[in-house]
Subunit: 173 residues, 8 copies
Amino acid sequence: MEKPLVAIIMGSDSDLPIMQDAAKMLDEFGVAYELTIVSAHRTPDRMYEYAHSALQKGVKVIIAGAGGSAHLPGMVASLTPLPVIGVPIKTTALDGLDSLLSIVQMPPGIPVATVAVNGAKNAGILAASILGTTDAPLQKKISVYKEQLKKEVTEKAEKLERVTYKKYLDEKK
Amino acid sequence: MEKPLVAIIMGSDSDLPIMQDAAKMLDEFGVAYELTIVSAHRTPDRMYEYAHSALQKGVKVIIAGAGGSAHLPGMVASLTPLPVIGVPIKTTALDGLDSLLSIVQMPPGIPVATVAVNGAKNAGILAASILGTTDAPLQKKISVYKEQLKKEVTEKAEKLERVTYKKYLDEKK
Amino acid sequence: MEKPLVAIIMGSDSDLPIMQDAAKMLDEFGVAYELTIVSAHRTPDRMYEYAHSALQKGVKVIIAGAGGSAHLPGMVASLTPLPVIGVPIKTTALDGLDSLLSIVQMPPGIPVATVAVNGAKNAGILAASILGTTDAPLQKKISVYKEQLKKEVTEKAEKLERVTYKKYLDEKK
Amino acid sequence: MEKPLVAIIMGSDSDLPIMQDAAKMLDEFGVAYELTIVSAHRTPDRMYEYAHSALQKGVKVIIAGAGGSAHLPGMVASLTPLPVIGVPIKTTALDGLDSLLSIVQMPPGIPVATVAVNGAKNAGILAASILGTTDAPLQKKISVYKEQLKKEVTEKAEKLERVTYKKYLDEKK
Amino acid sequence: MEKPLVAIIMGSDSDLPIMQDAAKMLDEFGVAYELTIVSAHRTPDRMYEYAHSALQKGVKVIIAGAGGSAHLPGMVASLTPLPVIGVPIKTTALDGLDSLLSIVQMPPGIPVATVAVNGAKNAGILAASILGTTDAPLQKKISVYKEQLKKEVTEKAEKLERVTYKKYLDEKK
Amino acid sequence: MEKPLVAIIMGSDSDLPIMQDAAKMLDEFGVAYELTIVSAHRTPDRMYEYAHSALQKGVKVIIAGAGGSAHLPGMVASLTPLPVIGVPIKTTALDGLDSLLSIVQMPPGIPVATVAVNGAKNAGILAASILGTTDAPLQKKISVYKEQLKKEVTEKAEKLERVTYKKYLDEKK
Amino acid sequence: MEKPLVAIIMGSDSDLPIMQDAAKMLDEFGVAYELTIVSAHRTPDRMYEYAHSALQKGVKVIIAGAGGSAHLPGMVASLTPLPVIGVPIKTTALDGLDSLLSIVQMPPGIPVATVAVNGAKNAGILAASILGTTDAPLQKKISVYKEQLKKEVTEKAEKLERVTYKKYLDEKK
Amino acid sequence: MEKPLVAIIMGSDSDLPIMQDAAKMLDEFGVAYELTIVSAHRTPDRMYEYAHSALQKGVKVIIAGAGGSAHLPGMVASLTPLPVIGVPIKTTALDGLDSLLSIVQMPPGIPVATVAVNGAKNAGILAASILGTTDAPLQKKISVYKEQLKKEVTEKAEKLERVTYKKYLDEKK
């Protein structure tokens, strides 16, 4: 098995349905990753060890998802010189505004690269683009991926311009 | 020197002008405390040791103030069975809403007893009332303090009822 | 029957599905409690008597849940020297932001120990940790509970590291 | 001295610079009022007595101003069948959003007639318009007052239409 | 038919499921009212005439409900010396925060007595309490109503204290 | 086929169920339009070309809908001297507050005419009213449309005044 | 004097320091305008007449600024088939969020073209771009203006690239 | 001169007092950068060229700061496979919440690594940590920097523990 370059961690397995999107993007880009649960609040010692050992294991980028008082991304960032990407998980009470502010408003000295609420897919792409800064084939894959996004939009646009919007909507159903 | 029953910690010495209000209340109640700086993000190891050792040192309640991505209260709470009181410090960018949500929205299992934005004074009183649950003289002091608050309000009310509000405001200046 | 050390009160029986989580935690820790409805707005006299008599009855900590213009926790706190824990109940209109701000933003002199929106479970744990400051076996139970949380997370983490995340999610369904 | 028809109460004398605007409007309309300090949190017993006795004293409308966890208007409303007007006082931390939500989001059964943040002037006018429902001369005064507002705006509009806006602004300085 | 003392108006018949709660309360108190649709934006002339004629028709209090850019309560208030109660209707996009701020933040001179989001029931009670200031039997009914609320809460409290909370919840289903 | 005077564009075909409301209004007013997908982020080059060529094609007004970090309306506005109407699409995480602020808070020099969250219908009407400034028959149609709105409200009001509100609600079901 | 094509109105002369920016832009583009005060709440009749007569006077676009419960833009829009641009004025209490939501969240049928909080300058540009849809020389002026903005940015960028940022900041002082 | 590895761009030179913090951090880490003004709205063509050419020039990471409808970071991210760090600049009207949401809520496919409001210093550190993933000496510098932060906190903590907090505050003045 390939050594993981990216670590995807989350505070709870209830975050997995969202966080799997990061894994899927890395699968698509062929980037090796590991994925596990690390809770800042329920397993603080595990978090310390995990964050401290990531660099030694060869991990280059850490993706951390958490909700509510979302401390995992920021605490991991305080424990490693690696770039940490934070994914604010949407919460039932405050719609993820709590998660977003808990993750993004880090004090000077300890950044967390924050993506959108539930933006795990983008966390995967961002991790790849970070690795891509010194991995030209991977960077190329990101460009190809963006081309693909563009192609999908263009095809939909062409269809929508060809048919009426009513027909377009009917066929989508 | 008396052994501290309360630990007052804060993420940065820029929080001290606010956090001293907790100390002042404990001074008033005659509760021994220690006060220091512990940064979740800049001194994570110190935070671990501090939180782990507090119980052994005889500390009964921890008051932790922090602003922005305010992780100190929640992380300390995850590392100790002691009750932790969180003080959200007002921030320049988002007025302390970020601090408040970061501290109060803790996940099930790890509570933080959160007070108002910049509410360090109340954190001191709350710590005293916690200790007061098994310290009748201290609990009495809290009742006396509340009586004092009441007396101050009543005196002001009496004055305001006696003079016109214009005169009251003039004399306040 | 054991004398209750904790009083769990709520503004309406519609809060009970949330507030029962506090009771469940206290059951788990073996802490005697009483649970009832006290509405600040609909039964103000009952609230006064309840708050005034709690101390005499031997109650050590009060947990109060309320939603919207959530005045119960703060009013009870103004009427007793006991520590009061406030649980903001999620509302349909403003998602509990109204409840949270009504409870947490108490004026200097009268603190309420506020937990997360719908965080009744944490209110129970916080009450236990307050009692635990002078009840070593109870404090130990909290440590054991936290160990249990840790164990659950660790087991899930181990499983997730063993199987693929797809399989993990399939098995969870 | 005339018996007061309106009671203006506030949680703290720090609210007086704002709350005096209610008094000024009632002075202008010739409505007798009393004005005092009643703190829900620091003088709960005084609040009870005050709210319970207002009706007997002949008070018809109560104006209550408070900030932060602003419980005074709602608690007074729970203790009297009189209409209660709530004035949310602007706070330094959360700009009065906390005061507004604490006052306006009352549960079914106990309304508070809420005006704008710091809207004490409008509280005075609203009290007068309530009394005016059965006091034709007072109601007439409100209509005259509104005519006066209209006249002031019209005069300013005429001036602004006559001179350039630059000159208008220069002369205002 | 009795001459209406209260006018209940709303911007759209989609607000009726909420606004009927005001009517129901007035029915309960035996207060005559009229209820209709007046849109500030779609029937501005109708709104002018309605607001101007309300006083002449003998209406004493106007209850106006509206959502989003909720201009109806404030515009009606600008056109009549009668007290106007505003009911912010919950919106799908911004949860009624837009409605609340549009209604409550009126400029000096033109108050709107604002109740909670979707708080039509309280609008009805507030209207009755306004009329009750000079109608002792009606004021008495409000006191009786509050007694009834108190009784309901007390009965529920007694039941909850008698049975376990689990049983209470089971029986509620 | 008539040359389009209005261009309706959106960032994704998932916005079409909302954005079709703009098309429907233009259909009703007999204004020729084109409708397509242009993503600021996924098809930036297409957006450039589209925005640059709109004026030459004879388009007079552009309606652009987008959600989240909604950059389409503002970017198109920066690339054309034509008026651009922005429609903030409601998002699942933050209810469209993100879309609204992203679109409306444009810097000095580059305005976007922003309508309500999901307000595509109003975008269509606004586009027509812009064209109507120099197209009297079209302007007339807008007046007629507003008369129609008025008529619908008036008919509903008349019905509601005729029957009881209970019956009205029953018949609506 | 040229007949005004744009009407700039505002709820109060306290809005003039902001609203003059709209006038300045129209001066720069050579577009004739009139500017006056029209208060929705204090001069509702004047607002009716003003809105009803604007079309007859030859006005093509109305710019309306207002703060708090900002009803002027929406009410004017309900009274005219002309396009109405709304400028939310920043308020002291809620920072203009109240003004923004009051103006932008208009119901289906009556749009207001909303610009940024205090965005009067952009309101002027938007009005010009609306007139520019059938006035090629004016449209050209907008393009020239945008070129000028671009030139200013480019010159600053060139300077910043030439000197160090420290020197750039020193020279700006 | 060394070829820049990081590009620091901002929408306006008014952002420079904040954005210089990113440059200062890169200076401290010895990372070559270029710094210039690129406005998404006022120089869209320049932005296109800049974003398209960055990769070819050897830039590895782009830091983009912008305020209000902050489109620069997201648009640049759509035009390059390089990682883009977004810095939300605090605004006068909405405190930077608009900037934050405009930058962070990017749609799937195009991430922006967002830091705190005005968090330019952290943007510099994040850029360094990204480059550090394949530059061990740079990564070491980040670890050293974090050690330095820790040392500063520890020294302050030691001083605060040695002297009284009153003395500490006096000496800070």
